[in-house]
Every structure is written in C-alpha cells, then in structure tokens.
C-alpha cells in the first residue's frame, strides 16, 4: 500500500468514536497489517469503514461477520 493511502487508513482506523475500536485497530495495524496480502489489506480497509458500534460488535464477538471476504480479518482482529 502506498504511503498516503496507508496513512489515511491509519488515521481512519485510530481516530474513532469508541476507545475499544481505537485500541484494537491500532494494535492490528502495528502488529499484523504488514503481514497481510494486498487483498487482505483491502478487506481490512473495508472493515475500518464500518460504523464504530458495528465494528466493535464484530471484534468482541457480539455479532458475526456475514461477508465471507471480511470474516477472516474479523477472526484475526479477535485474536490480536
């Protein structure tokens, strides 16, 4: 991912309404994001566009991800 696109994604991931999501996505970007394939990085970017509550419900296991492309990233977010 080129620098500006990554930085934009980073800002959108770590400046959220909910602290829980801020922390979970910061950690994921710092520790896991670099290891992902381009398609997986794209899937993460799509998830980062979700509303805060929606995303938190997915990460905390209160909801299941119905999009098969995004579900593996959700699983990784839960573990990280």
């Amino acid at each position: 991912m080129e620098r500006a696109a990554y930085e934009r994604l980073r800002w959108r991931s770590i400046r959220r309404g909910l602290l829980e999501v801020d922390i979970a996505l910061t950690r994921f970007l710092d520790e896991e994001f670099g290891k992902l394939s381009e398609a997986e990085q794209q899937a993460f970017a799509e998830l980062a566009d979700y509303e805060d509550l929606e995303l938190w419900h997915l990460i905390s296991g209160q909801a299941e991800c119905e999009d098969a492309r995004l579900a593996p990233i959700v699983a990784m977010l839960r573990k990280s």
């Binding site: 620098r3 800002w11 400046r15 959220r16 309404g17 602290l19 805060d52």
Partner: protein, 594 residues
C-alpha cells in the same frame, strides 16, 4: 505566504452532538455554515454515550423540570450556575421532542410515548425517591443521535469539512473572533475560515490522563486553541472518574463484576477494601472504592513494575457464572488486559471519564471572559457548547445523562445566539494582517525541528504526570510536585520533532498538534487542582476530609467559586457561583449525600 481564505457566516469546530445541533440552527436559518471535523461526524465520541438523555417528560410517572434542576444542582455539589441549570432542565423536554422529530428512534412505551428508564441520581420531589427520566435508544443512544442530526444537517445544506483539523482561533485587535485556521489532512494545506461566528464543539480532553475511557480523538483541541488565544478555562480541576478501567487501556470493566463477587487486591494479594469499608467492602460506593484504590497505589502497594494498578480478582468464581452473568468481561479482559480472568486477576485503575470544566460560557452559549472586575464580558463572535464548554451546569460533578442533554440544549442555544447576533446582516470584520502566521509557524516548527522530543514520549509524560498527581484522589504533596512536573513536561511539548516530513496525510504531524493542545488542558487541570484546597464533587483531597465543620471536605465559606485559569503566567482567579436561577428560588446549600 498566500493562504486560501474560505468565507462563511459561521464555522463550527467539531461534529459530535453539540456541533451538529448548533449547525442545524445556523443552516436552517439560512446562514452559510461550515462544520470542521477530524473524523467523519458519526464517528465522533458522542457515539460512546449509552445511558440516555435526561428530560422530565413525565411519560412513565410524574416528573418536573424543577426536580431535575434540584438533582443537577445537588449533583454539581452546588458549583453549577443555577441560571444555566434552570435553562437546561426547562429546555430538556423541547430538545428531546425536536430530536424525535429529526428521526431519533427513541425506545417507546406501549402507548407510543418515549420510554423512560431510571438512572442514578434522578429523583422526584426534590430528592425523595427515584424517578424514570432517561430517554434512550437501546444501548446506542449517542450513535442514533449523531445519525439523526447528521441527516438533518445534510438536508439543511451544512457544508462538512471532514478530516480537517482546526489549528488556531483568529482574533482581531479588538478581541473579536473572526475565524479559525485549519489544516486539510489530505493535502496538508493550511486554510483560513473567515467567519462572522465561530462555535467550538470540540468535546472533552480525557486523553490527558493515562487511564481514560475517552477515544483517541479527545485531545482538547478547542481548549488548546482557546487558551492560546487568551481565553481562560474554567473549573478544569473537575473530572469524573470510574473506579475500574483496564490499566493501560482505559476500557471499562462494569461495576457488575464486583456485584458478582469480584475482589480488589493489592500487591500482597490483600483484600484491601476490608480496611476502608469493613461492611460494604468491594461493594462500597464508586468514590469510596476509587479513593481506596488510589491510596493503595500512592502508598506503594500497587501492582506491576510501576506499582500503578491494583487487581480485580474473579478467579474464585465459577467460570460458568462469569460467562453467564458477566458477558463480554472475559473477552474485554483478554483483549485489553491480556489476561484470562478465569485464571488471572484483571489489572484495573481509576479511569477518567468526563470533563466538567471548559471554555467559560453563559447559558446562551456565548463565551465570556473576566475583564474590569466583571466575569461576564462576551467575546464577540465566539461561542462554545458541549463537553469543551463550561456553562456551568455540571459544576463539580455531572449527573448521569446530563451530558447528552448539555450538548443538545447548549448546542442549540449557541446556534440560536449566533443566528441572533448575525441577523442584522453585519459584514465580516477584516481579518488581521498575517492571520495565519501563528499557525504556520507552529506547523513549520514541528516540521523542521531536529533533535527534539518524540510525540509519543511527550504525550505519555503528560498522561503519567496527570494520572499520578491529579487522579481521582488528590494529595497535597503530589499536586505540588505535579504542578512543577507538568511545566517541565511542557518544555518537552514545545520541542516536538516528527520523523515523517511528508506534506500529505501526515498523521505524525496531526498527533504533534494534538499534543500541543493536550498540554494546555493538563496545565489548567493540575494548577487549578493544586490551588483548590477543599474537596468538592469530583475533586477530592486527602487533606480536606469529611469533618462536622466541613461535611465531605467541602468549604463553602472559602471555595464556593469557579476557578478561572489563564494560560498567561498560569494565573488563577475565582468567579462567584451564580446561585440565582432565572425564575424560581435558589436551591439552597446543603450537604451532598445520597
């Protein structure tokens, strides 16, 4: 340098609840209105508000705004201004009904009215018995509010500038506010918003503390900008804390954990609450538990390498009970504390939640400053609402669900005041020469500095200093040390260096600019807290204990007054509390007990 100038009737900085509510008033009045936000509006921190919004609708049982007013004054420990409190409690019904008309999906009763639930501190008949006053939309009240108000703004043609960060207020030689400078993150371009009205709705600054429930965006940008422009900050020593946030993360562990048998332990595994509250032990009230935790940490009995947290132990509970009665706690604990609470205790610490003080305003949302012996001098062109403002309705302690009410009522009144002030069609006042120079020089310094301090380290130094010296329970010696230490940390903040020198999407630069705002709030808080020698509401000092002469440590004879902190020289002055409501008799001083 040639800086682009965008001309609007009004600019609102912040697109959370207060900003969106103000913008509706301005745009619907036909004024050309811009809203700047670091994030997309529905991602503002208002989204985290779950409890509801207080209004004495009386849908479930008899209620009255005067009872709500009484609860708010009492909650504030009599530091709230009673004119503003009357205004807010009276207006509550109107703003909630308006919100419903904007499409807010409030929970409903069987007969279709807004359903109201009970909430701590909401009482009927002047403190007699609990009353159902909170209006909510399931557990997503803040989220639903943001959506309803954002849609309304889109319809009213409010212009949103998303992922823009305001940098500084622009004031002319007579002190009028004539706009702000702001940076578009995507380009790194600094722009002047030249306006006739500027409204700050930038939220709280809970990130000054190491343990905070606030999202990362809550860096007190409005407070930093106001302070740098010579506007003092009011009652900044008052911050609401929650006893059990995950140490280091701030994510809340519900009080239900102690209700189910959770035990707090210090570094020798001692159940220390037995010493502080022999009967209630771990189930003692929020403030008693918070103070006991802070005392253990202060006296060296905290856990971990820095001895800066205690442990919340549920390992003795049946795992099935934990899973059934405390859903989500295991996940939160694993995710944010890195421990499985079935096997290991959870590190917890009293955690900052809400800022009661802020930019001083009257109940019309106009910013007011001291001058010539009066404290009510309006700063022309400048308004503030929501958590960044201090009207003051929360005084020394906020009543639950009054935060959403605050942003609706004062967001609206700030908008209305701006509409009224602009209705004569007055032209824009001239921009001062080189209006953007101050901001440009701040940005250039950060961009070009070599051998300076790291942003992450400076921010951590602020947060550690605040947490250790001005936390939930305050000690004279620590406050004194903290006041000296925060000025040392300021030197670090004035010397920030970033490695990334890119022009576009430079998040390191944004974080440096945020840190320059945090330090202003941190200084205001520490210095105001050190100066106030009594205990009141959320400001509790070890050396101002509960005595017959001063119940709860509150000393009305000397300290029934608002703190006004000036950035220039860290000067403090005090302004009287307004004990006179608008139309009813005063809520007379009394000891605050529940």
């Amino acid at each position: 340098m040639n800086i682009p100038v965008l001309k609007f009737d009004a600019v609102i900085v912040g697109a959370g609840g207060a900003g969106l509510r103000s913008a509706i008033q301005l745009s619907e009045a036909g004024l050309k209105t811009a809203v700047l936000s670091k994030v997309f509006p529905t991602r503002s921190h208002t989204v985290a508000a779950q409890g509801g919004v207080a209004a004495s609708l009386g849908n479930s049982e008899e209620d009255h705004w005067r009872w709500h007013m009484y609860d708010t004054v009492k909650g504030s420990d009599w530091l709230g201004d009673q004119d503003a409190i009357e205004f807010m409690c009276k207006k509550a019904v109107e703003v909630v009904v308006e919100l419903e008309h904007y499409g807010m999906p409030f929970d409903r009763t069987d007969n279709g009215k807004i359903y109201q639930r009970p909430f701590g501190g909401h009482m009927s008949n002047f403190g007699e018995k609990p009353v159902r006053r909170s209006c909510a939309a399931a557990d997503r009240t803040g989220h639903a509010m943001l959506h309803a108000m954002y849609q309304r703004n889109v319809k009213a043609n409010t212009q949103f500038f998303v992922e823009w960060m305001a940098l500084d207020l622009i004031r002319d030689s007579e002190g009028h506010v004539v706009g702000v400078t702001a940076m578009e993150m995507e380009t790194g371009q600094v722009v002047i918003f030249h306006t006739r009205a500027t409204i700050f709705a930038t939220g709280g600054a809970g990130r000054i503390f190491h343990s905070s429930t606030n999202a990362f965006i809550n860096t007190g940008d409005g407070l930093g900008m106001a302070a740098r422009a010579g506007i003092p900050l009011e009652d900044m020593e008052f911050w609401q804390f929650h006893p059990t946030g995950v140490a280091g993360a701030g994510v809340l562990i519900t009080e239900g954990v102690r209700g189910e048998g959770g035990i707090l332990r210090n570094n020798s595994k001692e159940r220390f609450m037995e010493r502080y509250a022999p009967n209630a032990k771990d189930l003692a009230s929020r403030d008693v538990v918070s103070r006991a935790m802070a005392t253990e940490i202060k006296e060296g009995r905290g856990c971990g390498p820095n001895k800066d947290y205690v442990l919340l132990d549920i390992t003795h509970l049946d795992p099935a009970t934990i899973m059934k009665r405390l859903p989500g706690i295991r996940e939160i604990s694993i995710q944010f504390a890195g421990v499985d609470p079935i096997k290991e205790p959870i590190p917890v610490v009293p955690t900052c939640h809400y800022q009661m003080g802020g930019i001083p305003t009257n109940y019309a949302g106009r910013v007011i400053v001291p001058d010539n012996g009066s404290f009510d001098n309006v700063v022309p062109g400048f308004y503030a609402a929501g958590e960044c403002a201090c009207a003051s309705v929360h005084g020394a302690n906020r009543l639950g669900t009054n935060s959403l009410l605050d942003l609706l009522v004062f967001g609206k009144s700030a908008g209305d005041s701006a509409v009224e002030d602009l209705k004569n069609g007055k032209a824009h006042r001239d921009l001062p020469a080189n209006a953007a120079d101050y901001s440009l020089s701040r940005v250039a310094a950060i961009d070009s500095r070599k051998g300076g301090s790291s942003v992450a380290e400076a921010r951590l130094a602020i947060q550690r200093t605040m947490q250790d010296h001005a936390g939930v329970f305050r000690f004279n010696d620590m406050l004194k040390k903290g006041a000296a230490q925060i000025l040392e940390v300021e030197k670090q903040v004035l010397n920030l260096e970033i490695k990334d020198k890119s022009q576009v999407w430079n998040t390191a630069r944004m974080e440096a600019l945020e840190t320059e705002n945090l330090i202003e709030v941190a200084k205001a808080t520490m210095i105001s807290a050190e100066a106030r020698k009594e205990s009141r509401g959320a400001h509790v000092r070890d050396d101002a204990p509960d005595t017959p002469e001063f119940p709860n440590g509150r000393n009305d004879k000397e300290w029934l007054k608002h703190t006004i902190w000036h950035r220039d020289g860290n000067k403090i002055e005090y302004k009287p509390v307004n004990l006179n409501p608008l139309t009813v008799e005063t809520v007379a001083l009394k000891t605050r007990s529940y």
